[in-house]
Symmetry: C2
Subunit: 358 residues, 2 copies
């Protein structure tokens, strides 16, 4: 089946938008919560070359609402993740619109409003198969990710401790917090309360526009921080926006409105239930204690989802770890690297971690 | 006209719910933005006795979604605001449901969806008339308030500097921040997007229940702080709730769902446009520089609306002022005094301010 056939419905989820990428065939993939995705595809992109001894691989999953494309800015010859040195695998989440997802699966085959519950551990089981079966890799130099990418990083490090030499969970937690769940419920409800959503069975994803707008609005409140929006600071101008309203339209709505509502809901549900302690019968300390990776826990100061204190709490349970907070007015979205110094700070920490023996 | 006739529509806005209170007749009250409320009533409650020299009065306005009742917990014989010593006036905001409001004004008289734009300065002009015309008071020992009450406190201190001897703006700002505006837009949109709201012309306020539920949900995300909701902290249990879901239903929804949607929107609009710099052609430093009151600026640490840094920024422009941050997991809702030590800390600062010569 060609990519064009799989991604017919929404021009956002195409190679025209995201560049070339690959699909790994998972066959009929059984999910943690019981259902199976038939003929399941895991999308991914690689950069660099796997060396002979297969010991130069990095896995770099992405955040909520993202794809592999959004991580590419942290891969480059002048950066810590240098593709002349490393083989970088950027997997796409199940449900993100490039892998098997609600919008590219017909309703009668379990798509759209029928799409099954997917969990973070399903992503990591799928990625593990890609890494081992497709590439024959037994050890990873580094697993890193931001936000839901951090959830995936933790799941990798807890589930396959002997494989992960280094880990960098950035602005995310190993176990979702009740406050995150409240936030996720609010932005999911913003979409689901739009009558056009119709329990996930819309004929045109762009018809759910008011739901997606409310979703973007809630993200604008929580995604950065109060200080970013201070009228003296006017940080939005440095970011290239004439006003807060301009930023709402041309940053937040521009980001979300092209996406498929069910895809977003599938990812949000995964986020809402992310918890590595399920690997140890609910004992978080036991689960995090299994991590063998040299770990840099990298929260963003002023992050309204994942305050430094929540990340420090988890870091204290990881044997060989350091807390590396990064200051920025961009709050949770520091990772977007809109301010050059933020991107540089993140890259510096990654570089230091890669140079640390593990 | 009897209270019963004025407050027919919603049992929440009755003396059965709020106890006895008074109405001050403002006549036809012209608003800052141009329209007039005919036969306008300002509700208020007083506690204590005005002394002969009329120099023992305190004005204590309330927050968004509140009434005078919500401030009464800070007035008592064992507290700083002791009614055996002070005459305490607790005015109700225009639009709060006890004063003239959308829900108690028929549509053809400018009520419901036709209710005019009201501004913080309208509240303060109305309260000034109450204080001077009804009671003949020329000087106030203290003006204080929380959140929108802080906005009103600032407006009092800037507009009538010679009258206000002491001021305590608690967890609120003199000039609304763009981040607050984003938050206000999100929770107003939660109500307005409910089809039952019908541009403000519903026949039953309780029919707008899903809009009010979404509104409550957004407040649950921003009203406290992430740390409150930490799964190890389980602060909700100390607050008397079995779970976060229980707290959403029996704290947040219990608070908002009885209220009138248009009343909430009228108050939210006021909040969104609060800015004392309008008294000085947009120059905030000039406006705050006019304050003669001895001022304690009292932000709550972990407040997701009004971080200490925003409040400190304004405090630095007030001549005779001190910054008095109060730590609490309750974030913006520290003022609810659910944890006894929070209430005590607030009362201690108020007591110290009242004892300071001014």
């Amino acid at each position: 089946m060609s990519l064009e056939e799989r991604y017919l419905e929404n021009e956002y989820y195409t190679e025209a938008e995201h560049g070339e990428f690959d699909l790994f065939d998972l066959g009929d993939f059984e999910l943690a919560r019981g259902r199976t995705i038939r003929d399941c595809k895991l999308a991914y992109k690689t950069v660099g070359t796997l060396n002979q001894s297969k010991d130069n691989a990095i896995v770099f999953p992405h955040m909520y609402s993202g794809t592999h494309r959004d991580m590419e800015m942290y891969v480059g010859e002048d950066m810590a993740i240098d593709p002349t040195e490393y083989f970088v695998i950027m997997p796409d989440q199940l449900g993100n619109g490039l892998s098997s997802s609600p919008h590219n699966t017909p309703p009668h085959e379990g798509g759209m409003g029928n799409f099954p519950e997917v969990m973070i551990e399903d992503d990591i089981r799928a990625q593990h198969r890609l890494v081992t079966e497709e590439f024959g890799i037994e050890e990873l130099e580094l697993v890193l990710g931001w936000s839901m990418g951090a959830q995936q990083t933790y799941e990798w490090a807890v589930r396959f401790p002997e494989m992960v030499k280094r880990a960098a969970p950035i602005a995310g937690t190993a176990k979702v917090t009740p406050h995150d769940q409240l936030f996720i419920d609010a932005h999911m409800e913003a979409i689901r309360s739009d009558p056009a959503w119709n329990d996930g069975f819309y004929t045109d994803p762009h018809a759910v526009v008011t739901g997606l707008q409310r979703h973007a609005q809630i993200w604008s409140v929580m995604g950065l921080c109060t200080q970013f929006y201070h009228y003296d600071e006017r940080a939005w101008e440095r970011a290239g926006f004439a006003s807060v309203e301009d930023m709402l339209a041309n940053f937040w709505e521009d980001w979300f409105l092209r996406m498929d509502p069910n895809n977003l809901l599938t990812m949000a549900h995964k986020w809402r239930h992310g918890d590595v302690s399920r690997n140890a019968d609910g004992d978080l300390e036991e689960a995090l204690g299994r991590i063998e990776a040299k770990t840099f826990v990298m929260p963003f100061e002023e992050d309204m989802f994942f305050p430094v204190s929540d990340c420090a709490h988890e870091e204290s349970m990881i044997p060989d770890s350091e807390l590396r907070p990064i200051p920025s007015l961009w709050g949770h979205f520091t990772m977007f690297g809109v301010f050059e110094e933020d991107k540089q700070a993140i890259d510096d920490h990654i570089g230091e971690l890669l140079e640390t023996p593990a």
